[in-house]
Symmetry: C2
Subunit: 311 residues, 2 copies
């Protein structure tokens, strides 16, 4: 089933202990699309500036990602500059230039309207909601957000949360959104805001899936934890969370029918998310995702199983 | 197979967001023994003061732990006071009074000498080594240490590490011991110091088992990660790491023959370690371990499997 994703397509300048890259292709929708493209058909909605050229377009084309929803506007693309010199787990942001993103009005191409899966990457919740409302027929909606929207745009964000099947955020964001420092209590509070499931990303410690409480039985309430691979070298963690989301949601969309979206499918999706996140960290920007093969993905899935399974 | 453990039996005054307890029974050897006692026969070597009475003795007796190696000395028992008000993952130490521990000379009762497993809990590495040398016939030796010994008693510690089969320390200690901030590289450096296996404890994120590189095949080199249970309420994390060690080593000792110490047994031991660590956090001090049943342990083992296993 096809996924439509709305989010940023951007340029990033990144510094990590492994080195520095200037203006490499980035943005949440870019990482998400590349990761999800190994599992299913992906369609992007974003806006870019005049600095987005054939070279960048080719990155999407090489993975057969539909870019008809990427609007070209006068001006420059979204630009982010950050470093991870002191802490590989958290970026220090030096510059955020919204540029063409400041006036972004997402438009959904007619060809995207039969998408059954929708991913609302981390953008202004007002825009997330607008896109969601324009695609009433989707089967499964997942989304991301960040501390800025949680703190200063809470009302708009709460509207979005009401319509989400799955919210994917990191642990700090989960606790901030709930106003509670205990992960289990915070997860319950977030689920009470609307999402049917919550994926909490723990960076190098993997991710935990929480389901809304179900009267049907205890098993539906139990969390599930996917590991992250202990990596010999983390070159660049930029986009790892978006790549996780792409692997997670891409795998779910690859389940041919809604009846196949079982708890077991969600658990496998968590593992595929972790797999894609781990690959993203191995090179700068999207370099590793661009060169990846499905065989490598499945080999790493097996490695993750061996890393955590008793037998 | 019986385990002999040497370490502290102490009194702890603890403050956490859940409340405060004065002078409750604590110490690494206490937590370790209680946890391990659910799996195998346990014998303790320690020193206590005149303040250690029948009530404390009864805690060990109730779990059939051999206390003939607990020496009574003139003076007070080891005392520790700490709090977790700002951070449940790391204790802030307010007081450490070594008391009778300052002049501790471990003596091994004749009845302990046929122990096949030896655990060197976190004490002066000079004492750890002395105990190790007095028990040349043991099959498997594991040990713990802490930042203080790593920083200021490195030479003595390195001597201990040479004779260890398994070292169990936390992530910060691993990186400090190796002088390397990457977990995988740090683990390799620690294994090069002598231990055949390294268990790195990540607190609420579980623990990772690293094996020394083996020329026999790739699988021996791969790490294994056990989860921790996301807990609704962490009442008191004191002793969680020692309880992990007790569950881990106790389970290994319960494997009747050395030939049963397979990689699969080590993986199950990691899960039992995590299980015992999670119970320890649920009440103050040793309260939860004292009231535990083997059935509860096995139920939680199943829960941990469900938490992480795909099928």
């Amino acid at each position: 089933m096809a996924i439509t994703v709305v989010g940023s397509v951007a340029y990033d300048s990144i510094e990590t202990p492994a080195g520095r890259r200037e203006r490499c292709l980035g943005g949440a929708a870019t990482y998400f699309s590349l990761a999800a493209s190994f599992f299913t058909e992906v369609r992007v909605i974003a806006v870019v500036g005049e600095d987005f050229g054939a070279e960048q377009e080719a990155v999407f084309n090489a993975r057969s990602i539909d870019t008809r929803g990427i609007e070209r506007a006068a001006g420059k693309s979204f630009f982010w500059e950050g470093s991870y010199l002191e802490n590989l787990n958290e970026a220090r942001t030096h510059t955020t230039d919204l540029n063409v993103f400041a006036a972004f009005e997402p438009k959904i191409p007619e060809a995207y309207r039969d998408s059954e899966f929708l991913f609302l990457a981390n953008i202004d919740p007002v825009l997330q909601r607008r896109v969601r409302e324009q695609m009433p027929g989707v089967k499964l909606v997942a989304g991301d957000t960040m501390n800025y929207w949680i703190k200063d745009h809470r009302a708009a964000l709460l509207e979005v949360l009401k319509g989400l099947d799955v919210l994917l955020i990191n642990e700090t964001e989960t606790k901030m959104l709930a106003g509670n420092n205990n992960l289990v209590q915070a997860a319950r509070a977030v689920l009470a805001l609307g999402p049917k499931a919550l994926v909490v990303k723990h960076g190098e410690y993997g991710a935990t899936l929480f389901h809304e409480s179900s009267p049907k039985g205890k098993s539906a309430e139990r969390p599930f934890r996917a590991p992250a691979l202990p990596l010999e070298e983390v070159v660049d963690p930029t986009g790892a969370g978006d790549s996780f989301a792409g692997g997670f949601f891409g795998y779910l969309a690859s389940c041919a029918a809604a009846s196949e979206l079982t708890p077991a499918a969600f658990r496998r999706a968590m593992f595929y998310g972790s797999v894609m996140g781990s690959f993203a960290c191995e090179r700068f920007g999207t370099e590793r995702l661009q060169q990846l093969t499905r065989e490598e993905i499945d080999d790493r899935f097996i490695l993750f199983r061996e890393l955590t399974h008793l037998d």
